[in-house]
Point group: C2
Chain length 343, copies 2
């Protein structure tokens, strides 16, 4: 049976919410088991609170935890008995293990992924790729959104290929439309990095390149993938997140401002819940770390059960839908000779 | 009397909405007059539809229009009888004229501003600075958001000073908190450009530097100014815009989806209007082009009357509150010797 490792100690709400969410995922997908890494005693105490199929849960005890204060590279090297490193090793060494989920330090998860799991052949830089809810009711994949603050044009071209493979494999999008996130739609827009990336993306036969897109197209446009450098992609992701939080805060405030508005809320609850649900992208799970030899999902540091659950489901689905193989195939098909020359 | 020039021919909805909005502004502020530049006959036909104080409106006829298809520098040079160039010349040459408003091509407005009006002494690069509504019910100034796709650290440091001066002069913020927009709050975050800019901003005594901020802090944080390079600032601005449009679209859809939800809307109308009003930042007016010797406001290309009106009011207020002098004073106080060395 497929196994997914879950870092029980990573994130602001570990281990309580992590364990709760992973157990919820067992009900959503039936064909897999969970391995928790972390302090065995704490995990078992927590597990004792729930009813679940014991044949589908394992615990691997370890004594250390990587925190946000750790320097990623040295933590991955020195904290060899941490829930993160032990989990990644299980992913690497165990054929049955198909994915790894952590809400721990982003830097440490990325570093451990690259150092311990390694990149798919030909991948220049792995990239973080979350899904952002869009007006069409589906998701726009934003790649990269934080793994690579500094990029070369060739990296951006590959992000387009990898995220396109992800859209196909994980979400069944037949012919994903790929846009390049810049400061204007005209071809000449952007800095030299994005101008060169535009030219490279245009040459790739394996993707459907829609040209430059703007920030507003992430949620309001019609692309399935928005390619960006990790710096501005991160800013875009968090700008949208802040807007969503602001909308939720304003709605809460306004609908509690008077007795009349409280009554109004009772009537308007259903459409408002739809809006809040749409904006709440915790439900879409975490960011997949594209380009590694196995499936790694980075869940938000503040993840609660309701976002750990879809992150685990995401890992199961990505494995079952052959995400890694799809990326490898698309990269192999692509003539990256010229692209890689300057990398 | 103070005069504000309005480019009657610039923007998707010119001249109808431009003229309508500028006339509305005459009711909001009493101490100024409007000069419309553009096709005199068209403008007069349009004006004939309204009742307004004729002593407060002038028309300066000109025969050309700069469009989005024009190359900015050559258009500014060759279309000398365009509503844009004639307007800028009035601003430059006429003591009584305190500001210029256009919804025309951003590139052309910026180019004309720099070429015809010129920079305040010491300004390295003028920058576009819109206000984005925030959760506190005020606005966060985002500077630069598109004038400079490529920046040096020194430019970013100056954007912090100029936007801080703007917050003080135009909005009465006593001690504006200035954040640097990056991909994480820790000091070392970002690419070398932003790391260096961070160090420069930290050294400036004339601003209250709050350190790095993230995309979510634009709307949900507690800074008055977010400093950014024009590339990622533009992406942030438009990402927020797209999120707002998506929220409005989802609300429209959901509250029209059934008879029940249509009735619910009647009850929930007031709080929902508050939300829509908050997100609709047309009401905040356009982007001020900071760093020029006179006040230039760039209104959104798709501006209708409801955003032209506040853009004109913005120009009046910026002039009356001595925006240009405040920027010049703050820059003069600042020891930019080291800062400018490498520029």
């Amino acid at each position: 049976m497929l196994k997914i490792v879950v870092d029980a100690m990573g994130g602001d709400n570990a281990p309580v919410e992590i364990i709760k969410g992973a157990l919820q995922a067992l009900d959503v997908r039936k064909n897999f088991a969970v391995i928790f890494t972390g302090d065995g005693e704490i995990i078992k105490t927590e597990l004792a609170k729930y009813k679940y199929d014991k044949t589908r849960v394992e615990v691997v005890h370890c004594t250390e935890v990587v925190t946000n204060d750790d320097v990623p590279t040295s933590a991955v090297r020195s904290k060899r008995d941490s829930s993160l490193v032990v989990g990644m090793r299980l992913l690497k060494e165990n054929e049955e293990v198909g994915g790894f989920v952590s809400a721990g330090s982003t830097g440490a998860v990325l570093t451990a992924g690259v150092m311990l799991i390694g990149r798919i052949k030909g991948v220049l830089r792995p990239a973080l790729c979350p899904g952002i809810p869009n007006v069409r009711g589906s998701r726009t994949l934003l790649c990269d959104c934080g793994a690579n603050a500094e990029c070369k044009p060739q990296y951006l071209a590959q992000f387009g290929v990898m995220a396109s493979a992800y859209a196909k494999a994980a979400f069944g999008v037949k012919n994903p439309r790929v846009g390049l996130l810049t400061n204007g739609t005209e071809e000449h827009k952007g800095d030299p990095l994005h101008q060169e990336a535009h030219q490279l993306l245009k040459q790739l036969n394996c993707i459907d390149f829609a040209g430059n897109v703007e920030g507003r197209d992430i949620m309001y446009g019609d692309v399935d993938v928005a390619v960006s450098d990790g710096f501005s992609g991160n800013i875009a992701l968090k700008s949208v997140e802040g807007c969503g939080k602001t909308v939720a805060a304003v709605l809460n405030r306004e609908f509690r401002s008077s007795l009349g508005s409280k009554i109004a809320y009772l009537f308007a609850r259903k459409p408002l819940k739809k809006l809040k649900g749409m904006l709440d992208y915790a439900r879409l799970g975490g960011s997949v770390f594209l380009g590694l030899k196995k499936v790694v999902v980075k869940s938000h540091g503040s993840s609660k059960a309701k976002s750990i659950c879809p992150s685990v489901v995401q890992a199961v689905d990505a494995y079952n839908n052959r995400l890694v193989e799809t990326i490898a195939d698309m990269l192999a098909q692509t003539d990256f000779a010229g692209v890689q020359d300057n990398a």
